[in-house]
Amino acid sequence: MPSEAGPATGETVADHVLEFPGGYTRTTGPVIGRFLTELRDARIVGVRTAGGRVLVPPLEHDPDTGEEVTGEFTEVGPAGTVESWAWVQAPLPGHPLDRPFAWALIRLDGADTALVHAVDAGDARAMRPGLRVRPRWRAERSGHITDIEGFVPEVTRIVSPVRADYRLRPGRALARFLEGVADGVFLGCRCGSCGKVYVPYRLSCPECGVPITEEVRLPDTGTVTTFAINNLPDPRAPEVPFVSAYIQLDGADIPMIALVGGVPAHEVRQGMRVRAVWVPPEERVPAPHSMQNIRWFAPTGEPDAEL
């Protein structure tokens, strides 16, 4: 055995490998041999005991009684149910998969015992007792337990893309409002009956049910009345999370919905004073896309308003 002096410690240390060159040749016997032969053909079989149980993988003797099994083989699975599992986050050399996976006891359909194998579930959170799995077969099979690369969860969900295309016109009231925004102005209206000021501009009062004729120009400052922190991406928002808020423009009686930016989401609060942030004049677009001209509302730095 070759030895070498360890340079760091000066100790005498030798690397040593115990290996049978080429591996042992083992006969399988008729029972295990049948199982492995069927595996090569991408089938899984169990063997029936005298008591009627189906052992998978097959053994030559019933572990309960020691009796010889019957010699009756029956196809099981290929699907099965996970009974318990252990999650391997860092696979070792020699493990069936080189990415995180689960060891599992899998009760194949039609079997009375559980098979030990790997489950390629991607994430530990995908594992649960009762999980239904199926084998993923190796393309080149030789009659070996690893002819099954691993088991994979059954299909229980799909992703459905949903998309429809439209051409929208804003209607007269909204068209008027968007023209105002294109000019850098928020247009609202005052009800001649109740005196309430609405923004965006509208043609009738929702409370009184009467037409509105008086147009009002509102400033681009206001107060956050309520807000939500959104964690799902939205094409109109710059980043996740973003804040959408009800902003009551100064002089209006109802709030309108808009993004709040220029401030960390967790600092946004009810009563916060904000002002619209307009894109530079040379980047502005005309109606009906003029809302793009408002990036978002940003804090003014004034003291909070009483709501």
């Binding site: 115990l18 252990a86 559980a114 690893t146």
Partner: protein, 340 residues
């Protein structure tokens, strides 16, 4: 049944690292110590337990005889198992009645294996389990998962075992458990008995010889071992039937149990074994720290019997249980009951 007792026990100060001693060099002091304690220089029978795969060489156990002085030829045997099973063989041998004493020893140097847990893959069946590369931590994690062990319960097992180990001069000094990262979930690093290099020896003596060489012999009033099917999917990993059956056959339940030393290689195995052996709630489990405080592989099980016997011989307990396990997921279980 012939009366047989543990009359002497010794173990090394187990080490988590290779301290540069060969196996016979590890053994020599413990053999000397049990010879001194028992006053016996020669024995009617000698039996050892070890694993050639730990040494990486076939028949490596033969060289361990160098620690005994086996000339003129002695009556000797070996099991490729934990030395608790060597003790069982010696106990059976003493039942023959023609010899009155036996020396039993076990030893292991897991530090020599680059990965001792992957070494244990070699004990699995070569058709269905070993080709998967199922290592010792992986299959133990499957059993822990089948048991559904409670994290707080496991942490407490480890905390108590390590604290006891710190008070035991032969065990490792390990801190209280901390850290949440799993090796193979649900097992965390501290749930795993730390492999250590070490050895242990026991002297068994029968009848009058035992009374002559030992003030308080630890009489073996029951000893039995049972085995479960090997394949992990053919048995209930959370409830090892063989452990329960061995305990029944050894008569654990025929009296109170002051102390039980259990071969707990993974923290979940303590509640599993406590249940299987039907130990009374008052039983103190692994006061030595158990394997979770030092696991000198192949001597660990014998040390459980030795520690349980020591509590009889030093007069601090009246009835104790030693347990040893072999194979994957507590497949094979041995239980010895000792009384003063």
């Amino acid at each position: 049944m012939r009366e047989v007792a543990v009359v002497a026990f010794a173990q090394t100060r187990h080490s988590a690292v290779d301290e540069g001693l060969s196996e016979p060099e590890l053994l020599l002091p413990v053999i000397e110590e049990v010879r001194r304690r028992s006053g016996l220089r020669t024995f009617g029978f000698t039996c050892s337990g070890s694993c050639d795969y730990l040494a990486g060489a076939p028949f490596s156990f033969v060289s361990a005889l160098d620690a005994l002085g086996a000339w003129p030829p002695i009556s000797e045997s070996h099991v490729e198992m934990d030395a608790a099973w060597a003790l069982y063989e010696a106990w059976v041998r003493l039942q023959h009645g023609d010899v009155d004493s036996a020396l039993v020893y076990g030893f292991g140097k897991p530090s020599q294996a680059v990965d001792p847990y992957r070494l244990m893959t070699l004990q699995l069946d070569p058709y269905y389990l070993a080709p998967l590369g199922l290592d010792q931590i992986s299959y133990a994690a499957l059993a822990a998962s089948a048991r559904g062990a409670d994290r707080a319960e496991l942490d407490e097992v480890v905390r108590r075992s390590r604290a006891a180990g710190r008070a035991n001069p032969y065990a490792l000094d390990l801190p209280d458990p901390e850290g949440e990262e799993a090796v193979v979930a649900p097992l965390r690093p501290y749930d795993i008995a730390p492999p250590a290099d070490g050895a242990a020896a026991v002297v068994l003596a029968a009848g009058d010889l035992a009374r002559r060489v030992c003030e308080r012999p630890a009489w073996i009033t029951g000893i039995a071992h049972r085995i479960d099917p090997h394949y992990l999917g053919m048995r209930d990993l959370a409830r090892p039937a063989s452990a329960a059956e061995a305990a029944r056959a050894a008569g654990v339940g025929k009296g109170g149990v002051d102390v039980a030393e259990l071969h707990v290689q993974f923290s979940h195995e303590e509640p599993v074994l406590r249940e299987a052996l039907a130990l009374p709630p008052a039983t103190e489990v692994n006061p030595s720290g158990g394997p979770l405080a030092a696991n000198p592989v192949m001597a660990t099980g014998l040390i459980r019997i030795g520690e349980a016997a020591r509590r009889i011989t030093d007069g601090t307990a009246g009835r104790t249980v030693g347990h040893a396990a072999g194979g994957p997921c507590l497949q094979h279980n041995l239980v010895a009951v000792m009384e003063g």
